[in-house]
Symmetry: C2
């Protein structure tokens, strides 16, 4: 956005800012649709999916990220079933993802996060889908707490584990996940659920908002430029170069 | 308990029943102390421990099972720290284990179940301790939902994973965990926390009470007869033979 010439009126500036905001939104929507299409190609017909946190239209532009893949697969006519991790402590899965999937008409079932291993052992999970808050150039991915534990269960069962995120989630200055500081949030998010106190008064709680999933546990990272697989250092850089010119210019 | 002769009065019968009840309780307490001692020997000084569900004096006779090991290690002067899995959906960790550890004076921190992988990756967990609801003769162990997911995280990080349970938890007629039916409990335990509804009305939830951890993920099973390691088919049978005669007679 140019600040405009001295002759530019406040109305001109307002119009330019609004146009830029619309362009940013449209770019976000276009990126989300591209990610959703690339990701949906990885979803077999009849797939059972485990999804963590909230990654849909309530969280991100357009179709969102991981949940956009679910949506695109569903809209493509694939018969899928999503196990929705409730995602303690903030319960984004129970509160938001379950609501979005209901609105989209996608069959889904809410589970506690700890059920992941049991689901994979007994119900035949075909893939896991998660978003990302920050991705290092080697593919290490920071995402909502519980992501890494889910990834370990997936790895043990040979279940593909897909991260879905726009390229602007990649921190090109970050070599690996060790450089990602993990935010610690208020312990009361763990000791209390809404008005309901669930632990004795004075109980100490550790409440990391995120965890880091090492690249070795990630089957692929789906961006607007396509499906990147290990070695991510090369494939993410290639995705960056391959991204549509007008989008890349904003990064 | 013999029903008594025809001449036996109701008071005699009552006294006999009471004596038997006391004997059963005393046996349970003795077993718990033996498990606690055997298990405490596995806990290094300065250990960081992850514990799942509730397994203390509120759940079982005497010192309990897994939490009895914590208690014995603490009483032996070992400086330990326990990460308490909240244990969704029923929150036995948050509600009960945190309370018990506070009363015992054992340093502890409450975490969401999904934090297990992150704790192991960043904080150096030394061992996991869990109880058991039912153990097959090959060592496959049914325990509170979330146990298996924790065991997978532990296996990935090389963290010893210990099951602590009395020998009467072993089902000697059960060859492996595939024969264990998993109770499904009311979905409202997942969709609601106390009076707090956490998912949209009508959301379907799958609420298995237990999961099965395959023996391959278990480092040892601690019983009143000692520490059994793989192959459990042999070592559990040996433990059964080694158990104190008067206790074995009740099995």
């Amino acid at each position: 956005v140019r600040a405009g010439s001295a002759a530019g009126s406040a109305a001109d500036l307002r119009a330019a800012l609004f146009a830029e905001a619309v362009a940013i939104d449209e770019e976000g929507v276009a990126i989300s649709h591209a990610m959703a299409e690339h990701g949906a190609a990885l979803v077999p017909d009849g797939a059972t999916i485990v999804h963590h946190c909230n990654t849909g239209a309530l969280a991100a532009p357009g179709y969102g990220t991981a949940l956009g893949v679910v949506r695109a697969a569903h809209e493509a006519g694939k018969r899928i079933h999503v196990y929705v991790d409730e995602t303690r402590p903030r319960l984004q899965g129970a509160r938001l993802t379950a609501w979005e999937l209901d609105r989209l008409g996608v069959p889904h079932t809410l589970v506690v996060d700890g059920a992941a291993g049991h689901l994979m052992r007994t119900r035949g999970v075909d893939l896991c889908l998660v978003g990302a808050d920050r991705i290092a150039t080697n593919g290490d991915t920071a995402n909502k707490i519980g992501t890494y534990t889910l990834a370990l269960a997936a790895a043990a069962h040979g279940v593909p584990f897909y991260v879905v995120a726009p390229l602007n989630t990649v921190d090109w200055a970050l070599p690996d996940g060790d450089g990602i500081a993990i935010e610690e949030r208020d312990p009361s998010e763990v000791t209390q659920v809404g008005a309901e106190r669930i632990a004795p008064t004075g109980t100490a709680a550790y409440n990391p908002a995120f965890d880091v999933t090492p690249a070795a546990c990630i089957s692929a990272i789906v961006t607007e430029a396509g499906v990147a697989r290990a070695p991510f250092l090369e494939t993410l850089a290639a995705a960056r170069r391959a991204a549509p010119r007008e989008l890349a210019a904003t990064r």
